[in-house]
Structure formats: C-alpha cells, structure tokens
Amino acid sequence: MICRRPVLTIWEKLYLPSIAQGLMVTVRHLFRKRVTVQYPEERWIPPSYFRGAPILLTGLDGQEKCTSCKLCQFICPPKAITIKGAETEDHKEKYPEEFFIDMGLCIFCGYCQEVCPVEAIWLKHQYELADYDRTALIFDKKKLLEMGRMAPYLKGREKPVQGGGE
C-alpha cells in the first residue's frame, strides 16, 4: 500500500500555529485532576471484579463453606492448593481439616473460584502479599478464613470499603 504524505497548507507549514495548539493541549493538563495514588498513605481500592488473593468464605452458621471436594486442588494450574479433608457430623459430611494456599505459587487465574461447587473460595481484593519469607506465603485455613471475613463487598455489600482487609 502506498501511503501518500498529506499535502500541507502554508498555515501548517509555518509550524508555529501547530506548536501553539500543542502548547494549549499540555497547559490544559496543568489544571486536571492528578491521577497519582500516594501509595503508603493512600491505597488503591480495587473494583469488585478484581482478582486478588484467593480467600475462604464462611456460611451463615459461621462454619467454612468448603466441603473438601478438592476440585480446586485438581484444577489449580501451579498446584498451589493443598487440602486435607476430614469427615464431620454436619449436614455437609466433609470439611477441610487443613487448607493451604501457597501465595508464592498462586497465579490468580480464578479457576478455583470458577470450579468451586459451593462458592467457598473467591478471589478478592487483596493485592499486597509480598513477604521476606517464602514460608510465610503459605496461608493456612485460619488465615484464609480470616481474610474471607475481612473481605469487603461480599454478597449484598457490592460497594468497596475504604482500607478494607488490612
């Protein structure tokens, strides 16, 4: 394809009017709202569809929803989830005795959330997961449930909560 150069008028060839135009464009930005988030003081609030760290949810009875079916463990691409199931007298019959997610391995793909039949595992708002120690990144059931309790905009609460989860 031949790209023809546009034929410039004398006004355009003068170059100065277009410089003035460009200067007007930039000076308008001088008075715009700043987009900077001053991180340690201000935190970015992720939108409700954000896929952050996976967390475990509890049901209305205060028990974890997970039934230890291990579908998430099987589908997890980096094999970050480890579940040790056990039996219970409850209606759901099985529960996870131990539930580990290695946040160092997790790729935040959301397959676990998609595959979970009881909606027990969700990818929520948390994105500050760095640590100096890799073993500290292996989150156990207690920690995951705690994160689940702190999660903002759960069902019926779609609006994000400022500074939630910390």
């Binding site: 410089i19 460009g22 930039t26 001053q38």
Partner: protein, 344 residues
C-alpha cells in the same frame, strides 16, 4: 570610589545568589511542571510541597561517588564542567535587572558591568564560549556517545549563533546601540518590541532554545540515541555542574527575552519613580524576576510538549529557513528606519 566597589560587590553577590537559587528551584520547577503536565504530583516528599527537594538533590550530588572513566583525557575531562558553568554564570554581568537605585545622591545602575555599552556583543561572545565545555567533555570522556553528542551540540550551537546574531541586529538598529539598557529604554512607555519585532522574536526564541540545548533542540543529549550525550560519563558534582550550566543558560535566555521583547522591568502605565529611589529599584527587580520566571516556565512547558527534531531538520531549519528570513528582516528593518528618519 569605595562605595562603587562596595555596591558592585553587593550586586555580584546578590545576583550570583539569586541565579544559583534560581537554578536550584528551576530544577524543582522542571520536575513539578513536567509532573503537572502529565497529571502527576511531582516531588512532594522533602519539605512542604517538595520545596526542599533542591537541597536534597544538592546533598546527593555532593556525596555521590565521582567516577572518572579509564583512558579519559584527565585535564580536559576535569576542565569541561567548569568551562560550561562559568560562561553560563558570567553572562549575567551584562544583564540589567532593574531601574536605577539612588543612594546618598548617587545613581547606581542595577547591572554588574556598568557602562560598557556593548552588552549584546559580550552576550554573544560569552554564550558561545559555553560550547567549549561541551566539546571538551565529549572529546575527553573516551566514550563514543559523548563524542557524538558533543559533535551535534557544537554543530547546533555554532549554527544557531548566527540566528542569535540575526535576531539581535534589528533590535540594536531600532534602539540605536548594542547596550541592553538602550533597548529596554526604547520600550519604556511605548510598545514592547514583541509587537513590532515579532519575526525577530520568533528567530531569537528558536535560537535561544537551540543555544540552551533544550527540547525540541536537545539532540546533544538525545537520551534515546546517545544515552546522555556529552555528559554520559560524568557523575556527582561534575554532572551537577553541567546541569547547573544548562539551567543557568535557560535563566539567562529567559531574562534576555524579557529584556529585549517584553519591556524588561517596565510594566505599562507604571512609573517606578512613584515609589521613591530605593523601593522603586527593588520593585522593578521583582517585576523583572517575575517576567523571567514566566519565560523559564515557558521553556519547561515547551520541553514537555514538543518532540525532538531530527538532526537534518535542525540544520535545514537554521540554514534554509531562518537565515534568509533573518537577513530579509534586517533589510526590512533598515528600510523602515531609513524611511522613518533619524531618532530625535
């Protein structure tokens, strides 16, 4: 005699302090304005609104390791930063910065080098001295990028020196002398020269941008092509001296534009005689500083708006466009002045 020496010393100290402070805060202004133009906040950690940032920068430059590349040619490598900074600072000797001040019955000009009457010639001579520093830096760094940057810079500065001269001549003709004071006086109470001499203003503006190596003429430093250009190998305080030289040049250029085209320290419908002999002088200096600050802002504003020229475009613009335009404009001015007749 003694009071003249004393007053000169005071002027030198004050001007140097103001210029160096101005340089420090121009670097902050550059970062702030560039951030604002990009919807960011800019430095705001050191002091209120980041106002102490230049001090932090200074401490950083002083305590940084001073690296000298191996096989560099040491004498000129060490000389180059000084050869850039000193011409940038001594240009201020001929920049008048306010109305005369009367102290104990004596008039003192607010100008370091009084009564030379050749301010513009001195300015042209000194401003082109700065190129030696850049050339020495490029030649002695033992770095191909530095050398290329220096070559570009020398080429550009020497070329646009012509444009600078061409832009100044019509003004000198109109004002009847190479004295900057005369040009300012010619604008007092009348029209600022930017209106009748708009073409000269454009020529001089372009030339000054090129002389100060600012965008869109920052080919000597062209980061994307030449790393850092002529100062690639410099670090610590030596790099800071190049940096300060560039910003001092920018302030000089802004001051020059104000003096030549925007009435210097004069404002329309304002007579500094009303404020008494001393206060009027100080007030005029403040007005002059404000006008200069606007042009410093303009330099920064342009830098963060326009992209860099290609090298052939820089040369084409100078030798094919500006040179004939400038020569023609000198002839037009001469014709106009001839028809107007001698100044009374």
């Amino acid at each position: 005699m003694a009071d003249i020496i004393l007053f000169s010393a005071i002027k030198i100290v004050v001007v140097l302090a103001v210029v160096m402070g101005g340089v420090a805060y121009t670097t902050l202004a550059e970062r702030k304005v560039s951030a604002w133009l990009q919807d960011r906040l800019g430095p705001n950690r050191v002091g209120p609104f980041g106002l102490l940032q230049p001090i932090a920068d200074g401490i950083k430059f002083f305590t940084k390791e001073d690296i000298t590349p191996g096989r560099s040619y040491k004498p000129s490598y060490f000389l180059a930063p000084m050869a850039t900074l000193i011409p940038a600072l001594i240009t201020f000797a001929v920049i008048p910065f306010g109305e005369s001040v009367s102290l104990s019955g004596k008039d003192h000009r607010l100008l370091i080098a009084e009564g030379t009457g050749l301010g513009l010639v001195y300015l042209l001579a000194v401003s082109s001295l700065g190129v030696y520093g850049i050339l020495l830096a490029g030649l002695s760094s033992n770095n191909k990028y530095s050398l290329l940057g220096a070559l570009r810079s020398v080429n550009q500065v020497v070329s646009y020196e012509v444009a600078l001269g061409l832009g100044l001549i019509p003004l000198a003709m109109t004002a009847g002398g190479f004295d900057i004071d005369a040009i300012v006086r010619a604008q007092k109470g009348g029209v600022w020269f930017v209106v009748p001499h708009f073409i000269a203003f454009i020529i001089l503006l372009v030339a000054l941008f090129a002389e100060t190596n600012r965008l869109p003429f920052d080919l000597p430093e062209g980061e994307s092509e030449l790393v850092g250009g002529y100062h690639t190998e410099y670090s610590g305080m030596r790099f800071a001296m190049f940096f300060m030289g560039e910003y001092a040049n920018m302030i000089t250029a802004s001051a020059l534009l104000v003096l030549l085209f925007f009435g210097g320290w004069h404002l329309p419908f304002l007579n500094y005689g009303w404020f008494g002999p001393v206060l009027g002088g100080i007030l005029s200096a403040i007005v002059f500083a404000c006008k200069t600050a606007f042009f410093v802002f303009f330099f920064i504003w342009v830098r963060w708006t326009l992209p860099r020229f290609r090298y052939d475009q820089v040369m084409h613009m100078m030798w094919i466009r500006i040179l004939p335009l400038g020569l023609a404009y000198i002839l037009v001015t001469a014709l106009f002045l001839y028809l107007r007749g001698p100044i009374k």
